[in-house]
Subunit: 139 residues, 2 copies
DNA sequence: TCGCTATTTAACAGATGCGTTATATAACGT
DNA sequence: ACGTTATATAACGCATCTGTTAAATAGCGA
């Protein structure tokens, strides 16, 4: 399970949130989620571990979990790559959307406005999906 | 489906990636994923729409999808809240992990996993998970 | 070794997600 | 109204996720 899927679960986000401040024993984390059984939390921990989001350290009989920030970098950078302009402040956002729309129009495929365009050179958007899939499908 | 779950799917991330540059018609997006059928992509679009990550604009018979940056703010801010210190440079990170372990001691809250059943009064993280669940908590 | 605490693993059930094909809806042009 | 294009919805199968209980594993102390 990758980092994106790992953080898709609210419980796991809760765990990460708890680990943000300090490392914690598996049992303590389990107690933090009274609605879940201890094995359930244990498995969430496994998922987080396998996703590289947390690390474990053994202390006596306990397992101490802590946040592994590197694991979040994947998400961070994805978000960054998606950002490009619009930051997250909606002000800067609108500004950039405008700028971008105007600027892009110059060097990019129009991809809008005039309805029935011919077939622009579609960088990666190939032929007809229907046609393509239909070759060899029943009925 | 919330934003986190929405972006957990690689295809949907692919769609967002395509929409980063410009708005696109549903059909063009479908063509961009030759491995999937058109209805499959259409449903991904629905998920993204319901998660607030994209918006649709009707143009003739087509639906033009575009990125809705506000929808990503939720993830952005979650990431930020989790960051707090360690930015993503591992230097600052290690520094803070040390500092934090020593300095931090109080001031967080357990996560809220859904419905009506919960024990918020539980001080912080108590002792035995077993013991706690065992006290009349069968379902 | 025994017994206790802490945690993981196993086995299974129910919910949910994703894909497919078939069909419906929408808007256009003739 | 009809045919075509564009897109969404319906119905369904199957895999995966999440939770549960029961049992296994691990470390400690008597």
């Amino acid at each position: 399970m990758d980092a994106f899927a790992a953080v898709a679960d609210p419980t796991r986000r809760g765990v990460l949130r708890l680990l943000r401040d300090r490392e914690r024993a598996a049992g303590d984390l389990a107690v933090a989620f009274p609605a879940l059984s201890q094995p359930a939390v244990s498995r969430h921990l496994r998922v987080l571990r396998e996703a590289g989001l947390v690390t474990v350290r053994i202390d006596e009989q306990r397992r101490l979990y802590s946040l592994r920030p590197e694991g979040l970098v994947e998400i961070e950078s994805w978000l960054t790559s998606l950002r490009t302009f619009w930051s997250q402040g909606l002000d800067a956002l609108e500004r950039h959307l405008d700028v971008q729309t105007a600027a892009k129009a110059a060097g990019e495929e129009p991809a809008k406005r005039d309805s029935k365009r011919s077939k622009p050179s579609k960088s990666r958007l190939a032929k007809s999906a229907h046609a393509q899939r239909k070759e060899g499908k029943r009925r």
